[in-house]
Symmetry: none
Amino acid sequence: MHDDKTTRGAGRPRSAEKNDAILRAALDLLARQGYVRMTLDQVAAAAGVSKSTIHLRWKTKADLLTAALAAVRTADAPPPSGDVRTDLVDILRDFAATIAQVNGMALIGTCLAEEDHTPELLALLRARSVLPRRALLREVLERAREEGSIRPDTDLEAAVSALIGPFYADYLAGRGDRPEWAEQAVDLILTALRPEGTGK
Amino acid sequence: MHDDKTTRGAGRPRSAEKNDAILRAALDLLARQGYVRMTLDQVAAAAGVSKSTIHLRWKTKADLLTAALAAVRTADAPPPSGDVRTDLVDILRDFAATIAQVNGMALIGTCLAEEDHTPELLALLRARSVLPRRALLREVLERAREEGSIRPDTDLEAAVSALIGPFYADYLAGRGDRPEWAEQAVDLILTALRPEGTGK
Amino acid sequence: MHDDKTTRGAGRPRSAEKNDAILRAALDLLARQGYVRMTLDQVAAAAGVSKSTIHLRWKTKADLLTAALAAVRTADAPPPSGDVRTDLVDILRDFAATIAQVNGMALIGTCLAEEDHTPELLALLRARSVLPRRALLREVLERAREEGSIRPDTDLEAAVSALIGPFYADYLAGRGDRPEWAEQAVDLILTALRPEGTGK
Amino acid sequence: MHDDKTTRGAGRPRSAEKNDAILRAALDLLARQGYVRMTLDQVAAAAGVSKSTIHLRWKTKADLLTAALAAVRTADAPPPSGDVRTDLVDILRDFAATIAQVNGMALIGTCLAEEDHTPELLALLRARSVLPRRALLREVLERAREEGSIRPDTDLEAAVSALIGPFYADYLAGRGDRPEWAEQAVDLILTALRPEGTGK
DNA sequence: CATGAATGAGTCTTCATTCAT
DNA sequence: AATGAATGAAGACTCATTCAT
């Protein structure tokens, strides 16, 4: 139906660089300012585009930010070492590093704060960031279960929450920036899940 | 500056009710709309006061919200039963209930989102809500340590984070509203912290 | 229910001068620019008020213009002379003069042009200007009928349209500004309505 | 790019259909939206062309609309019956029908409203629609004068205005849609213009 | 003290017009 | 010739804050 090669559409093609620049700027500003405080003027300026160009591609501010969140590259897994403990720690550290890099807590805060008003934001954050990261952890735990290094009846989702949860709790308590949290969390959970009759 | 209680003597009464109404309305709207979206008009309307009355008492919007968060009554402990596990579960449940009641996740989200812009909000949330709740948990854990039901070398703060953390992780993953989370979390942590050589 | 005198509302009273200035400016600009081209900035500037003051009193542009049209003082009758022909001519001349004074044809044009979009405008123009003027003519014609100077079975509304109509037709044909139109129209209609058997 | 009819020889065909489609769409939208509210995007969409194609042919929005009005086909006369009264009524009825068909009152309103800003619109409306229609009426009246069925000293232009005028007056008074208006108007004027000494 | 009026700065969005393909 | 992208210049409306009563 569409001649994707030949009839490459008439007229000037839409600049892909601009698209990227806009989305990047939008996401960055979303994290730094929050939904409402961030303005399209700022996005336009940061992306080096006119405001109208933004509106040409996304009808509304909400559309833009939705697209920006949707464009977040889902997390790459850190290279697996094969060792359960090491892999879990690596994933958690990578998580914390990403959060720090992109001002992630503020972004999460924005999505939470906007939940009533623009629920798509939290939904997208979940789909693009939260759940993929959880899936990585879950895979490792599944492997561990198969190996027999954790109990066979372990509730994996609960275990995942127990692994990541302390990060949020620490952040809220003002004790973020503790590099050792990841190891502590992993050790605690692995200890709890150690199959019965396993001595130290 | 503020005569908070009675209509004392010849002086003109200072409407303490209005103060309260304003702060209550502000906090409620802060949770439901977020910092920027919430307007002083809304607060004024909800509190049954004029906008100027608000400005008469708090110079700026940030001041008002700061005061509103500062006025949050710090959590009452649920009545202690004496049993460690029961007490921990009760505290966590009470925590979740409070969060649900006051749209707490959105409020937390707002404070996180505004951290760059109005750091006082997160600081106050911490001081008034997060840390007191953590202190409750910590007290119980200290008691447990004295009783010998958890290891003597336990890092209590880390344990506290491990207890509350799953709540946040669950919420973000879209698996809030699971009443059993509290028990799961407590059991997991108590298992992990069980003194060596203690069989089931 | 309302203490109209004593509790004259707290706070600063709303300036009546500003109200008038705004409505006057709005009506004038509406006639000179049309609905869409007229901007609130222009109104604010012309009235010597801030734009927000306008919005404080009328929620939207449509509301403002509706109010402006509603505030149009309904036509005063020119003093009746008692003579039917003279009175009709006077009314028509007064009508033409008013139209010229307030750029009335453009205003009428705007209301017609906006009929699909903002039907209130035409409705108000009708109620405030068109119909009252017609009523004046009709009264004179009724008197004429009673006197026997026009046929008893005259359709008065049709006669009124026949009296004013030529004004519009002339304007559209580019032959406005003909002072004698009023007399011509009156004479034509009175001739047509002359009771049978009445010689010249 | 598109060979709309025949691929005529070596020359490049010049899409006359597009021209027509654009002008038709423009005129239609002008009547339905008014000058300012109508957008070139709407015209382009309705005509199935790109906005640039419009600008390629008419430099500005005003140019386009001017051209659209200039392209209005001037009224065909309804077939003359030979009878003065019948012919007049037919012309007036045809007039009213045309107005209804093309949303003519809104179009007239737009031209009036824009008179200060874009006087060409009213001028073209006059030249293309108003005056030709008046000419038709005038011809019939001239015939009537020659026949002796109206006074020889009749001011024909005034009579024409008296014939059409009631239509506008009725419309503004909210009494449009009265099919009998044409006959009433004609009868009234013919009565008024009846040569002296002519009994009924 | 309390109120409502008044305002200036700012935000999203629209649109005629100009460019690049 | 024709298209779609890009843009600058508005415009209606909002809101924290300051004034006048």
